[in-house]
């Protein structure tokens, strides 16, 4: 009995050690971004000497230097990113929920083949479509337009999959009785399916928002100065001839804040949203 207790104690100790170690490893770089953003460059690049590990008072100076940059309008890029991500998320939610509704609640010819064809594209790394998309977008005159990075991924295969999975749980009887009461098919979608799917929609919204917020390769190819999204803007800071690390750190810190807040508040939905696609068969 005693032996068992001791073993259990050791086991608990090990478990907590592992978890705490993981927390330290994940948080140190994040903490360091915040610290570095508030220090003059020479203080955190500390060549050979002790690096500073506490925040300093240099944040505003760094921010001012960042804003004074000629080739990158960083605050503008935050605005661009927010606009693109929000528009994209809303548009994609509408498309995916309507499509998901059709797949979940109607019978029609070629339903299965169409659905599996859409599903199959999940295996493709869609970033690899950059070349044809680049040609397509330049031919239809969308180069350097936000629509060029919103439209191509709006018909999101993962989104339609999640929506179909979740909408199957809407009882047919509910839809039937609404039909009898004279609701049109669109009202069924709008008045019944959407409200009951609120939490799934929230989950999908987070996934879509994060996806668009982090898109890098295609915006890098398609956008010009003035339309940069955050990742492209930061990359512009790195690629310059002399790397201004203090400004980069401010940019990195600022770029992370909104998404952290979103993540903290909506974490539960995020989890369920991803899971809906992975586990339910």
């Amino acid at each position: 009995m005693r032996e068992d207790d001791r073993r259990e104690g050791v086991w608990r100790f090990l478990t907590y050690t592992v978890l705490l170690a993981a927390v330290v490893v994940t948080l140190v770089p994040l903490y360091w971004i915040v610290v570095a953003a508030t220090l003059p460059e020479r203080a955190f690049l500390a060549a050979g000497s002790d690096p500073r590990l506490l925040p300093g008072g240099h944040f505003l100076e760094n921010l001012r230097a960042l804003q004074a940059r000629e080739n990158v309008d960083f605050l503008g890029s935050i605005r661009n990113s927010v606009f693109v991500a929000v528009t994209y998320t809303l548009l994609s939610l509408v498309l995916c929920s309507m499509g998901g509704f059709a797949f979940a609640k109607y019978e029609f010819r070629f339903k299965e083949p169409i659905f599996y064809a859409i599903l199959a594209t999940l295996i493709l790394p869609i970033q690899l479509l950059v070349i044809p998309l680049f040609l397509l977008v330049s031919r239809i005159g969308l180069t350097n337009s936000f629509w060029a990075i919103i439209l191509p991924w709006a018909a999101n295969p993962l989104g339609i999959f999640l929506m179909r999975q979740n909408m199957r749980s809407i009882p047919d009887a509910l839809l039937e009785s609404a039909r009898i009461d004279g609701a049109t098919e669109f009202q069924l979608y709008y008045r019944i399916a959407l409200p009951t799917m609120k939490s799934s929609l929230a989950a999908l919204a987070i996934v879509l928002f994060l996806f668009q917020w982090n898109l890098f390769l295609f915006p890098l190819v398609i956008l010009d100065t003035g339309k940069y999204t955050i990742p492209v803007a930061i990359n512009q800071l790195v690629g310059a001839q002399r790397v201004y690390y203090d400004q980069i750190m401010v940019a990195a810190a600022l770029s992370i804040v909104p998404i952290f807040l979103l993540f903290l508040f909506l974490q539960k939905q995020f989890v369920s949203g991803i899971l809906a696609g992975s586990i339910k068969e």
């Binding site: 993981a22 509408v94 339903k111 790394p125 690899l128 009898i180 917020w213 990742p231």
Partner: protein, 339 residues
Amino acid sequence: MASDPSTSTGLRGVGWRAADALRYRRQALARRLPSFPGVPYLFLAPFFVLFAVFLAFPIAYTVYLSFFEFQGVGEGALLWIDFGPVFVQLPRMADLRFVGLANYARLLEDAQFHNALSNTVFILAVQVPLMIGVALGLALALNASFVRAKGLFRTAIALPVSANLVAYATVFLLLLQEHGLVNYLLTGVGLPAVPWLSSPFWSRLSIVGAVTWRWTGYNMIILLAGLQTVPEQLYEAAEIDGANRWEKFRYVTLPQLRPVLLFVLVTSTIGTFRLFSEPLIIDEGGAPTEATRTVVVYIYRMAFKQFELGYASAMTVVLVAIVSVLSIVQLKAGGEDDA
């Protein structure tokens, strides 16, 4: 439409009570709804139009393009429809010269492509098992009944997934400098400094480390949720049979977790194959390019620095084929020996 006589002629029987008739009518009405068969297509149409234009067409066009040499953006038109007032012109996408399989033949001899592919495979082979192993370990630890503050641990460990790709890659570039924080900590505890970015071997591992840092928490969350779906009775039954901790893991947890593990494995494999931001940024930060250049970075340079779009397309086709085969093999292997 009017196959059911009761709906077209209304109330017929004299002896019917009005309520019955009404119910009957409603049922008949419900049976023939939705009112016209096109409804599901209407719901699907917006999705499908964008899907066809921006996903299905580009996939097909990549394959097409891989047989051509790109010579500039197209001037002429592919298709004209001219009906008086209606004038539709589908522009030709590009000026191309047919080269048959030449792009693919060139791939066979391109040492840089082979190098990029082997870098990618190296990163995949080290990173994916490492990450899934750590994520599974953390998920198991976090799933233990005695652990307090689960939500806090979970949030903290998963936080990196929300970090901006480019921002975090830049931060790692800084942390891993010769005189950066990581080496400072290493030398502080008496270990030698590591040439993270200047040695080919270590720069690859730096990328592995950065990717693992970002994605482990995300995968941990998925695995954790999977663990919570394992029925408690299975563990109780195993305990009655005298199973120890390891045996419970081996014979209950692992088999139950298989679909979730498979999902994590396939998505991670796809993710690693399209690795781009991290190597690009660490590249530009001065690491030996030859060691860290992934296939997608090479495709990007070929396509948008050299404008060899046909050749880059051929590479894309090959990469997609590899990813697809690998995913299907993983799915098959993971599904088949299901007892």
